[in-house]
Each structure stands twice: as C-alpha cells, then as structure tokens.
C-alpha cells in the first residue's frame, strides 16, 4: 500500500487541479439549480402564468359564454386540465354580430401590440354550431398543451349543447360529460400525482447522463495518462519503483477518487435541492416547484454503479492507453471502448417506452450497460431484488476479470514502443504476462 499511496495522491491532486475538473464539479450544481430555478423564473416573468383569451362569438347562441366560463375555471392542479404547469386561462366572451371581421381584425392587432395583455382569440363563426369549425389565433398557438386544453373545452361545450338540443336529460348529460381522470404513479410512490412519474423519468435520465459523461471523461483520462507516461517515457522510471499492477491500480484509484468526489458533490447538491428547494422557493414568495422524491436506495445504486462502472471502463481505457503509441491511435481506440456505454445510454428510450421490457432488464444486468441503465430504471420502476443482486455480482466479477487482463496488457504494452500490437500479439501478452 505504501507504494500505491504516492501514485494515488499524485493522480488525485493533479486531476483536481485541472480546470476541467473544477469547472465540472461546479457545473453540476449550477445545472441542477438551473433546472429548478429557470422554469420558476419563466413562469413568473410570464405575468403570473395567466393566458388572456377573447372568445369572439358570432353564433348568437351564447355558446361563447359557456366556453369562456369553462376555460376560466381550469387551472393548475386541476387534473382534468392536463399539464398546464402554473398557467391558467382568463377568458372573456364577446358576442359579435354579422361576420365579425372587424372584431377579428381588432383582436389581431391587439394581440400583436407590444405589452398587450391579450394572448389570443377564439373566433366562432355564425355557422359554427353546424360545421363545428372554430379558429384560434394567438401568441400561444404553438403551445400544444394550451391548444389541447382549448380544443377539449370547446368540444365539450358543443357536445353538451348538441345533446341537450337532441333532448338528452341534463342529469344524464352531466354524467356523460363527467371528466375522466387517469392517475399515473410508479409502484411504491406515495402520492398520486402524475407529475411524480414524469419527473422520475427526468431524474432517471439525468442520472444516466451523469454516469455516461463522468465515466467517459474520467475513464478516458486514465487512458490519456497512461499514454502520456508511455509516449513521454516517464513510465520506465516509475516501474523501477512500483510494479505495473501497483501503478495502474494507484492511477485508477486516484482518478476514481476525484471522480467520486465530484459525483458526491452533485448528488449532495441534488439531494439538498430536492429537499429544501420547495421551502426556499416558498420563502422567496414563489410557487413551490413540483419535485419528485428520490429514495435513498436509488442514490446508493447510483453511486455503486457509477464507481464500478468507472472501474470497468477505466480498466479498458488503461489497456487501450498501453496499446496505443500515439494520440491518434488512442482516439481511434476510445470510440470502440465507449460503444457499450453508448448503447446503454440509448436504452434510455427503451426504458421510457417500457421499463420492464426484456431489453431493459438485460441492459440493467449486463455490466457494460448497467451503470447507465440500472440507476435510471430503479428510479422509474420497482426493480426486483434478485436483479439487483445479479447485477452487482456480475459487475464485481467483470470488474475483477477486466482489471487483471488490463494489468497484463498494461505491463507489456506500456514498455513496447514502435507499432501497435496485433490482436494475436495481444493474446500472447494476456497468456504470458
């Protein structure tokens, strides 16, 4: 251990001194804070989230009045209203006679005028009740949620009228038109808001991204370090003091410690933001953001698979660095080494589609993809205990085997200069070293 210690210390201190490391460590919390704060700021910058809509009703039936009332009644937190965030509608019915062209022109001008409080207008033509054709113009016309909301309310209002005219009993009508509401929640979650399942996906994706980028960056820096020592002929002096295995272990541990500390800073900050964020927002007079709970076990899974995933890829990158003789060769080797992790990263979409699918389960058991897939999956669904156990065991065995193989390749590769070895030569290194 006394031999490895100076190596660990050097790798660690040289790593944490780099600008990239300091920047990366600080950037994580900034991103987390940003993701919570920015939507809040936008919300409040947008005039309290109120959408002013004028209903120009040329039908002469008064349906505009009903639509306006229904629209104004929806607000955030109303499950039937869908996901409007914190915004709500303020609708103003304006009965119109004739074609309504003049009113439309006036409304259009008002919408485009600077600092106008009017966001848009809905025009119901005289034959609207027959054709069912309405027109909306407004600044929020591209907002899918808001348009969906308007569409559903207009549809309901028209249907209610048509059924009424057809002589359907108003009580039956009320029953038929009772809004349907579907609660989404993942197993084990405590409350039943749809927001939780969705933000669980978001957090899972963030974890997958954090693991992917941190593993690629830190494990690849093991490769760069090995190559530097080989190319700049530093390694021979080092190997006269420590064994190849001690040295590469120390290197991986030093860089690993630095990466783990960065990850702890991120996780710690995220945990603090999730626990205290709503209180801070409330005390600042802002609406509390809707944040999901991250179970402690997810954090443990995340940190374990981050650490072992780093070791796994660091071993492969270390061997790649020892095989390469130039920067170009190292760059060529970097991509194939990251492919399995990249596959894991893209499994994210499979997971969003179905976190219980065979692909998702396989991805969370295979050690090369598990570091990205399993933490995300554990955030999205209840992963059976046996899968955790199998994933952890497979991971540990693979890390152990790869470390031994990498140390063998490293021992020989790091002293051989000239040309890159062939696969056959690599095989011989593995057997003889």
């Amino acid at each position: 251990m006394s031999r490895i210690w100076p190596v660990i210390k050097r790798e660690f201190t040289e790593m944490v001194r780099t600008k990239a490391y300091i920047f990366g460590t600080l950037l994580g919390p900034v991103l987390i804070a940003g993701m919570i704060a920015v939507p809040l700021l936008f919300l409040h910058a947008g005039g309290g989230g109120e959408r002013h809509v004028r209903i120009l009703d040329a039908t002469g039936t008064g349906v505009g009045q009903e639509i306006a009332a229904a629209l104004s009644a929806t607000s955030a937190g109303d499950a039937a209203a869908g996901d409007l965030g914190d915004s709500r509608f303020v609708a103003e019915p304006v009965p119109v006679t004739g074609t309504g062209d003049a009113e439309r022109r006036a409304a259009r001008e008002e919408v485009v005028r600077e600092r106008s409080s009017l966001d848009g207008f809905l025009f119901l033509a005289p034959d609207f009740m027959e054709t069912g054709h309405a027109a909306y113009e407004g600044r929020n016309a591209t907002s899918m949620t808001q348009m969906g909301q308007i569409r559903s309310i207009v549809t309901q209002a028209v249907r209610a009228r048509r059924l009424n005219e057809a002589g359907v009993d108003p009580r039956v009508l009320a029953q038929v038109l009772q809004p349907i509401r579907i609660d989404t929640r993942k197993p084990g979650a405590e409350d039943e808001t749809g927001a939780e399942a969705e933000s669980a996906v978001l957090i899972g994706m963030l974890m997958a991204m954090a693991v992917y980028f941190a593993v690629v960056l830190f494990a690849a820096s093991v490769m760069r370090g090995v190559l530097e020592e080989k190319r700049d002929r530093i390694v021979e002096v080092l190997l006269s003091s420590v064994t190849a295995r001690q040295f590469i272990s120390g290197k991986v541990m030093g860089i690993g410690a630095a990466s783990l500390i960065q990850m702890f800073v991120w996780v710690g900050f995220a945990a603090a933001a999730l626990s205290f964020g709503p209180d801070i927002a409330r005390s600042a007079g802002l609406a509390a953001p809707d944040l999901p709970r991250v179970p402690a076990q997810v954090a443990v899974v995340f940190l374990f698979f981050f650490a072992t995933g780093f070791l796994l890829y660091a071993a492969m990158f270390g061997a790649a660095g020892a095989i390469a003789t130039t920067d170009q060769e190292a760059n060529q080797l970097q991509f194939p080494v990251t492919i399995p992790l990249l596959i894991g990263f893209f499994m994210m979409y499979t997971l969003i589609a179905d976190a219980e699918s065979g692909t998702a389960v396989a991805g969370s058991l295979i050690p090369f993809t598990a570091p990205v897939v399993l933490p995300m999956r554990s955030m999205m669904t209840d992963v059976p205990t046996w899968q955790y156990i199998v994933a952890v065991l497979l991971m540990l065995v693979t890390v152990w085997a790869l470390m031994i193989a990498a140390a063998k390749i490293y021992r020989i590769g790091v002293l051989s200069t000239g040309k890159k070895p062939t696969l056959k030569e690599l095989g011989r290194w593995l057997r003889t070293a």
Partner: protein
Amino acid sequence: MKHAVEMTGVVKRYGDFEAVRGVDLRIPTGTTYGLLGPNGAGKTTSIRMILGIIEPSAGEIRVLGEPVSREVLDHVGYLPEERGVYKKMTVRRLLSFLAELKGVAPRQSAPWIDRWLARFEMAEWRDSRLEELSKGMQQKIQFISTVLHDPELVILDEPFSGLDPINQRVLREIIGILKKEGKTILFSTHIIEHAERICDHVCIIARGRLLVDGTVQQVKTDHGERFVSIATADGSDAGAVLRASAAVAAVRDPSGPGEAGRGLHHATLGPGADPNDLLRELVDKGVPLRRFELVEPTLEQVFIDRVGEDPVQDERLQEREVAHV
C-alpha cells in the same frame, strides 16, 4: 557486501528468442562499472531485469546482496535511456513524488530538493511547470530525480545520449560526486570512449552473452591484442627475425606512408608472451633497435575485436527486443 549486483546464469526468453543468454556478472561495490555492447546486445533488457521491471526467464539476480524486491530497489537510482517527465507538474512536486515512490517522505525530501536545485542553479525554477523548462533543464531535473533519494547503486542507461556538451559535463560532475561518496555506478553505453574515461570496471556483452569483464586494465591485457612497435636503427628489415620468434603471433607489414623501407614493424604478441623475452631475443640476434615500444590496445580495439561488426544481425536483434518487451 562485496557485490552491488550479482547476476548468475540469467536468461531472458521471449518466445523462442533469447535476448539474454546466460549472463554471469558481478559488479563490485563502490566501482564505476561500464556495461558495453552494441545496440541490441541485451544491455537494456539486463538493466530492466536488475530493476525488476521485467522478470528473468531463468537464473538469479541479487541487488545490494538481496533478491530483487521493491524494498531493495528503494536504494537504487535509475536514469533510463528513454526518459521523460510529467510536463504539467511543477519541478518540486515531481521530484517530491519520485522521491516518495522510493520511500522518502515529502517532508524529508524537501530540503534535499532545494539543495540539489541550488547546486544546479535552478532554485528559482522550483515552482515552475516542467513544460516551461528548456530540454536541458528538464534533463537536469531527471539527473536530480535519479540521485535525490541517496541511492547506494545508480544505474545510468546510455546517459550521455541526447545531452548537450554542458549537460554532459554536469553528468560527469554528478558521477564524480557519486564516486567520491563511494556509490556503485552501473553505466551502459555503446560509446567506448565514455566508458574508458569514466569507468574502472567494464564488461562487454553482445548478442545476449557476456564476452569480457574485469578492470579496464585487465580487459585490455587479457583480451586485447598487444603490439610491439619496432624500428631498426639502420632501416634494415627485421621481419624474418620477428616471424621466427616464439613470442610473436603475427607480423604486420609496414603500412602507411613513409613506413616502408625504414625498418618499421608491428608485431602482435602471442597470448601470455612476455615482451621482455622478445626484446632479449632481438638484441641477441643483433637487430639494431632504434625503438622498441609496447602498445596497449584501446578499449575500443578490444571491443571491435571481440564484438566484431555485424550490423545486420544487431539491428534484427534490436527490433525483436523492442517488439517483445
């Protein structure tokens, strides 16, 4: 401890290729020992085995009286032929790290670092990154790192290659300091005049085998061809007398401009022959001598005689060695 390094029957095989073929070598403690050989002779392989960087296939190596271990290697300093530094580290941090790898705590090495830097007039570069230093200054830092932990045995592999004349002098000074302190220095080179100037013991290895070893004087007398240079006073030909002598192995005819016809001869003495016997014989036979001079071979002559010139072979060996290391 009589020997700083003992190699007994050491073999290094790579597949079916033998880079080192049964080398027996004793390096007496306190000597400056030259490891001579052409490129690809197995010098670097031998040094790497002494340093535990690679394992011998057969045979035994003892360093400072003990089998090679990390503990014993703490007392060995090494300057490899291919050498570099961490460019992003500062001078002080690099030296402190390398000393710590040799078991010297940073607190202990700090004053030593200052002393060595002051000695080479580099104290003001203490906190500079290595990449800010000139190549010559980086080489000085490498010298310091080799001796910083006060090793008993210092191994220098082709130390003069790539050095400018100023640093060659610096290195000779360091070797002088180490010699004075009674350290053992193992010094590999293919430039024979460096060895002749600096070493008191030498060995010659070629194609993985030890050919010659001993003190510089011993090697010259035991393995070099000794010549006698003779000139007759009257320019007469003494060739017949020389050829008839039992002490003479061969007579070279006069060569070079102006030698012919002036009674100049070069006679190679036979193994173990006493030049005094030849002198007596010449006087007895009435050869009028103007000059009778025993010429010692240079180390370079011994080297060329023993190693021969076989560059094609050497190149091939070197290539294989590199590919297999």
